[in-house]
């Protein structure tokens, strides 16, 4: 999927574009934005709005894309900036939207129709989000791009506007923190099982 998006030509402006045309241009971008906004801690309640905003930025500024990076890396850059804004406003609006509304279990497309596998996947996703929440924002972004989106360190560094060495260092600390969080989770789980 990522390869397809990376090799896709930059969308061209078309004011009268139909939904089908926009779908052809942006369907993969929507997938990418949606899953990564979730991983980057954008609350589910505002997820569609965040995707809309990022899409609009990509659409408006596609002319500014100069081809110095791949289109994919450029989209990641937009994604990270929009996610950062939404996280900030989400914390400001916590008084009003203090409830994280989990998406319905069947809202994610699953390659398997097996409800038990789907349930397992849902539980794993919830746990993943909880552990990602424990990472500092900077480390989390690098971790998501490299470990989950499988970008190279160089591409992640470009999307984040960082030096490669800085990116490597953040990835190392993110991995350590994620491993530690996993170990804590396992210990907690085992304690519960013993009880």
């Amino acid at each position: 999927m990522l390869t397809a998006l990376a090799s896709r030509p930059v969308p061209v402006a078309n004011p009268a574009a139909s939904v089908t045309e926009l779908e052809a241009q942006y369907a993969e971008t929507i997938d990418l934005l949606w899953r990564n906004f979730r991983r980057l801690g954008v609350p589910d309640a505002v997820l569609p709005d965040a995707v809309q905003d990022a899409l609009l930025v990509v659409h408006r500024r596609r002319a500014d894309f100069r081809g110095e990076a791949t289109f994919l890396t450029w989209v990641y850059g937009v994604l990270l900036r929009v996610a950062s804004g939404y996280r900030r406003s989400a914390s400001r609006a916590a008084a009003v939207f203090d409830r994280r509304e989990p998406l319905a279990i069947d809202s994610a497309t699953s390659p398997s129709p097996d409800p038990f596998e789907q349930l397992e996947q849902h539980a794993a996703t919830e746990l993943l989000h909880r552990l990602l929440d424990e990472l500092p924002d900077e480390a989390r972004a690098v971790f998501v791009l490299v470990e989950l989106e499988e970008l190279t360190i160089e591409a992640a560094a470009r999307a984040l506007g960082l030096r490669v060495t800085t990116c490597k260092s953040r990835l190392r600390s993110a991995r350590r923190a994620f491993d530690a969080a996993c170990a804590r989770e396992r210990a907690r789980h085992e304690r519960l099982e013993v009880k």
């Binding site: 309640a45 505002v46 699953s110 794993a124």
Partner: protein, 287 residues
Amino acid sequence: MKPPPDALSKDARALLRAARGGDDVSAAERQRLLEAFQRRVHADERSRLRAPPRRMAWALAALVTTGSVAALAQQGAFERLSSLIERALGVPESGPSTQPVAPPGVHRAAERQPEPPPEPSALQPEVAVPERLPSARVIDDRDAGQETTPARSAAAVPRARSAARSAASTGSAASLDHAAGDRKTRRDGVASEELDLIIAARDALVNGKHAAARAAVSRHEQRFADGAFSEEREAILALCDCRERHAPERGRAFVERRPDSLFAERIRQDCSLETNLVPAGGAAATH
């Protein structure tokens, strides 16, 4: 084999594998996003076409300014120019003026320049309503551009709207002033929270953030099922459905249930329902 020192632990890798695909968007949600995006793109393009290009506006402003200065200089009237600038800045005039002195309000009105057109923004959905509905201010889109300007404090907006709403409910202009005067005393905790939720929903709706609007409305429904703003809540939901999903069912039900509501006409328009406007004195048309 020993894993490289930087690699993730076995548990962590297992978790990433198990969660793979769990964050993907559903086909239905993707379709909804695309449809909403298409509407925003079209609104964006339309507003760009309507607004004059910024460079041209700057060039025109520069030309007008240069021309005015040249004309004043030709008349030997730099004194008048400096006087105008001083008056615009609120500096009291030092010397006697040859111009008749008008009251301050008249001065300002006469010297006020037309404001430049607002920056085109696709975040502000385009709406066209033939007439102003006073009581519909709480969810009236057109208020957003004027009332949520950066110059106003965030706290002032709900307070002003609270006053506007109480004024509208009594239906008198005098009560607007009264409401503004003693709004602090009547803004008890519960009412304030309820109103804040509705205003949050309304602001989200105005900015095209339909998911946020729905979240606020849903929270309002949970906390204030029979609250004072249940009509507004229903209206916001109906508008969300129509704008985001082109689903007029909720809007139609609202209009049937509350044909005389101040929000009914707006919902009829946004949901493309048959209009119910009749000439003054005539009976309302039946659907």
